[in-house]
Point group: C2
Chain length 230, copies 2
C-alpha cells in the first residue's frame, strides 16, 4: 500500500480505537436473561435483532436507539404479562451502558502519536451524538484529531459529504476501521484507500461475507501494525 | 446593528427556521391524556418535565430522549398498574413526532435567498443527529448552508469549537435564533453578534428572564425583518 498521495487518515472509533461491541453483547445477554421465562434465549435475541434493524431508519444507531428497541421487544414478548420491572430493567441496562468506561485497544495511543503531524487525523464514526461525545471525552484522544465527524450512516453519500467538509479528494484519504461494510467498501468505491482491522466481535448487521483483493486495500490483524506502513 | 465585520451568519433551526416546539407540546398533551386517570394533567406534566431535565446529561436533546423520558415517567406514575398499552402509546407518540412534516416559518426561504452569497451561511442546531438530519432533508434548505453543525449543547465551549471548525473569530459571526439562553447569551459573551427572534412557544428549560441591552444584540419579531439589516 502506497501512502504517497494520502494527506488525511480517518479512524473509525467503536471497536477500532476503543472497545464497544462487547458492551452491546453483554447488554443483549442481560436482556435475554430478563425474558428467559418466556422463550429460549436465542429466540429472544432474534426478536431484539429484528426490532433493532427495523428501527435503524427511525432511530439511527447508538444506546438510546438500542434502549427503545429493548422496550419494544419486551412488550412484544411479554404481552399482557408485562411487569413494570421488565421496563425498568431495560432502562437500567441502557444506563449501565452509558456509564461504561472507555477502554482503548492496545497500541492505539502510540499509533495516533506516530501518525500525528504526518497526516491530518480525522475521527469518522457513526452513532449517537451524545454517546460518541461522551466516549471521546473519556478517551482523552480528542487532542489528536483535527476534525471529528459523527455520521448518520457510513455510506458513499455521507463519505462524500465528509470529504467536501474536509475540502479534500477521496484519493487523499485513508480510512481505517473494523467494518468492511462501513469503513472499507464505500471508501474504496469513491476512490479512497482503506485498511480493515477486524475486531473479535462484530454486530450481525455489519457483517459482510467477502474476500477483498484491491490495490488500495489492506487487512491488518492489529492497529499496532500500522507503524510498518510509515 | 453593524454587519460590517460579519462574514458568517449562523441560524438556529428548531423554531427559527421551522416549527418544532408545538409538536413537543402536542405530544406532552397526549401523554397527559394517557395518564389522566392517575393524577391531574398539570401534575403529570410536571413529572415529565422533571424527568426530562434529569435526563439531559444522560440522553441529550431530541425525540428519542423524550420518548425514554415518557417511558420512565409512565412507570413512575402507574406503578404496579402499568399496562402494555401505556408503553405502546409512549412509543406511538414518539413515532408520530418522527414523521411530522417540516413546516417552514413564514419568510424563511426568502431571507435565506437574500443572505446567500452575501455571507457564509451556517446551520447551528442542537438535538439528535437523526432527527435534525431528517428535518433538514425534508425542509430542502440544505442548499443554502455551507456548514451544518449539530451541537451537543449550545454553550460557550461548544460555540468555540464551532468557530474553530469554521476557522473564524467570534467577531465575524452573527447568530440568529429563538432562544436567548442557547442562541444569544453564549455568542455575545464570546464577542459575537446575535439576533433574537422569539417564537410563540418556548420550552420551560430554555426560558430566561432577562431584558438585554447590548450593542451587538437585536430583537426582531419575525425573521422577515432581517431584510432591513442589509
Amino acid at each position: 500500500m502506497d501512502l504517497g498521495k494520502i494527506k488525511y487518515v480517518a479512524f473509525d472509533a467503536d471497536d477500532t480505537l476503543w472497545s464497544n461491541e462487547p458492551y452491546f453483547r453483554d447488554a443483549e445477554e442481560q436482556f435475554c436473561e430478563l425474558l428467559e421465562g418466556y422463550m429460549p434465549q436465542h429466540a429472544i435475541h432474534k426478536e431484539l435483532f429484528i426490532t433493532e434493524i427495523k428501527n435503524i431508519d427511525r432511530y439511527g444507531y447508538g444506546i438510546k436507539a438500542f434502549m427503545l428497541s429493548m422496550v419494544e421487544t419486551v412488550i412484544n414478548i411479554t404481552g399482557q404479562t408485562l411487569q413494570p420491572a421488565h421496563i425498568k430493567r431495560c432502562l437500567e441496562i441502557g444506563h449501565e451502558m452509558l456509564t461504561q468506561p472507555v477502554v482503548l485497544l492496545e497500541g492505539v495511543e502510540e499509533i495516533l502519536q506516530l501518525f500525528y503531524g504526518k497526516f491530518t487525523l480525522v475521527l469518522a464514526t457513526k452513532g449517537d451524538l451524545v454517546d460518541q461525545e461522551r466516549k471521546l471525552i473519556k478517551s482523552d484522544l480528542n487532542k489528536y484529531f483535527h476534525h471529528i465527524e459523527i455520521m448518520i450512516e457510513k455510506n458513499e453519500r455521507e463519505y462524500q459529504k465528509l470529504f467536501k467538509r474536509l475540502d479534500c479528494t477521496a484519493e487523499e484519504v485513508l480510512m481505517i476501521g473494523n467494518s468492511l461494510k462501513s469503513d472499507v467498501l464505500p471508501v474504496l468505491d469513491l476512490g479512497g484507500s482503506a485498511i480493515h482491522i477486524p475486531f473479535h466481535t462484530t454486530w450481525e448487521h455489519e457483517k459482510v461475507d467477502i474476500k477483498l483483493d484491491h490495490p488500495r486495500f489492506k487487512e491488518l490483524s492489529s492497529i499496532k501494525e500500522l507503524q510498518f506502513l510509515l
